[in-house]
Symmetry: C2
Subunit: 261 residues, 2 copies
DNA sequence: CGAATAGTGTCTGTAAGACACTATTCC
DNA sequence: GGAATAGTGTCTTACAGACACTATTCG
């Protein structure tokens, strides 16, 4: 559903003319992107190594400031492209949550920094190149990141800047939840894929094993989840059918992930 | 899980000293609250009639500007209290989404206005009183609001300001979805409630009839959803057991709402 | 051949939903 | 008594998950 276009009345035009925005305190608004992909069967997230203060040398989610004429979603896409050199857009992008706790960014001492986090999925886009303000950029397997709620030991993994560990955690939970009732697993695989490819997405995001027989049957029984192409992929041990994403965005009944261990 | 507390290094302190926030364009950040309750068995939302431009005379979600020292969640609670006179806090408050499309607020001509929408639930708190900048404040039954995606005819219902119709729509969808897999229906009823009370919440939010027999059995079979108090309420036709909310926040397996008609 | 993968058949346990039926209270 | 509400019993259907089994390809 679209919002109704806002028309500006004459009374409002007059008001705006005389409106003084400086009566309200200044704010900075940024967008940060949690870009997830599957590499070597493992769930991985894109991080950039900061080349400037604050938190110079820490690893952070790619992101940056909202420009005046762009939507915050456009900010997310622009920063992702600028910081990583990727030309392809993610196959899925959704807003996750907004983080605005006072003190989350050291710059809060001068201006309040509110960040809108985005969650993005795409098939493995290859190796990023470091962009503006970044020392390096790479995918990290989520399993290789330090436990978010334990002490971080130098050298064992990247140190995450700001509250990005919390953002990432929220994003991983959202991703796992969304695979239950949507067809978003297809956002992680190439245009044409096998049912095994799709199952590997579920296994990576949910961190569990899934029975191939039951999964195959369930995917094929869900209306408009996947459409057969008729062709087969013969690179594996046995030939497997190739499919494309179907029309459905919501799957009903849902796929349930196993209860947490 | 908590985010790691951010400690500020000496390098960052020096950086912050010299940091000039005016290199980034100015922004306004606001919080708007979608407060839902059940009145006379119908789902209702709190709206305030604007007494100042822009969109003077339109109905809007209660909300306002982020103060420098508060979290955006605190902004939501403060504005709700200021605009309606309610002293009790909602029994549930969660962040919904952030709205930042250029042009969503006429003040965008001077300063970009980004709004963080919150979704709140509580038992019927009675009649609000209009606060600062508001001509009046009242609950509207959601069914009595004009269709969001049709032309709004003057006099048939409140005209919603800004993109608040879209926010409300997103909030209603979130509320309906959350009743499926959480125990949040209890946030709409008093401390002690009957199973019928709880069923009426589901019926109002999902806008459907639910079989009382199956609902009763399912609620009682879900571990830690509700705890019996031992006492009974005798105001209805037949005595009904009184319950309080149990420990669980998530229900598994979920309650499914009927497929959309 | 043996190992690995793709996929079918079949069985079991759980749960949603339909509905008949009983019990209690108010009018 | 009659109407409305609270709650139990029971039956049917659907589906998740377990697992045996077949088919195909690669080494």
């Amino acid at each position: 559903m679209m919002g109704k276009a806002v028309t500006i009345s004459e009374a409002d035009l007059a008001f705006i003319e005389s409106y003084d925005p400086s009566v309200f305190p200044p704010n900075a608004v940024t967008a940060d992107v949690i870009l997830l992909t599957i590499r070597s069967g493992r769930l991985a997230v894109l991080l950039v190594e900061r080349d400037n203060p604050p938190q110079q040398g820490c690893w952070a989610l790619p992101g940056g400031h909202l420009d005046p004429e762009e939507s915050i979603t456009q900010t997310a896409l622009r920063e992702l492209s600028e910081k990583t050199g990727f030309t392809a857009e993610p196959t899925h992008l959704e807003q996750l949550q907004t983080y605005s706790t006072p003190g989350r960014d050291a710059r809060d001492k001068k201006v309040r920094v509110t960040s809108v986090a985005y969650l993005a999925f795409m098939p493995d886009p290859g190796t990023p190149r470091a962009g503006a303000d970044t020392r390096s950029a790479r995918f990290w397997a989520v399993d290789d990141l330090p436990e978010f709620n334990s002490l971080i030991v130098q050298g064992e993994g990247p140190i995450l800047a700001f509250d990005h560990a919390k953002m990432l955690n929220d994003g991983l939970e959202r991703a796992a939840a969304k695979l239950e009732y949507t067809t978003l697993a297809t956002a992680f695989v190439d245009d044409r894929f096998t049912i095994s490819d799709l199952r590997h997405v579920y296994e990576a995001v949910w961190r569990c094993d899934i029975n191939p027989a039951n999964f195959s049957r369930k995917v094929k029984a869900t209306p408009d989840f996947i459409d057969p192409t008729g062709s087969q992929r013969a690179t594996g041990r046995a030939p497997a059918g190739l499919y494309v994403k179907g029309e459905a965005d919501i799957i009903s009944p849902p796929f349930f992930r196993p209860a947490l261990a």
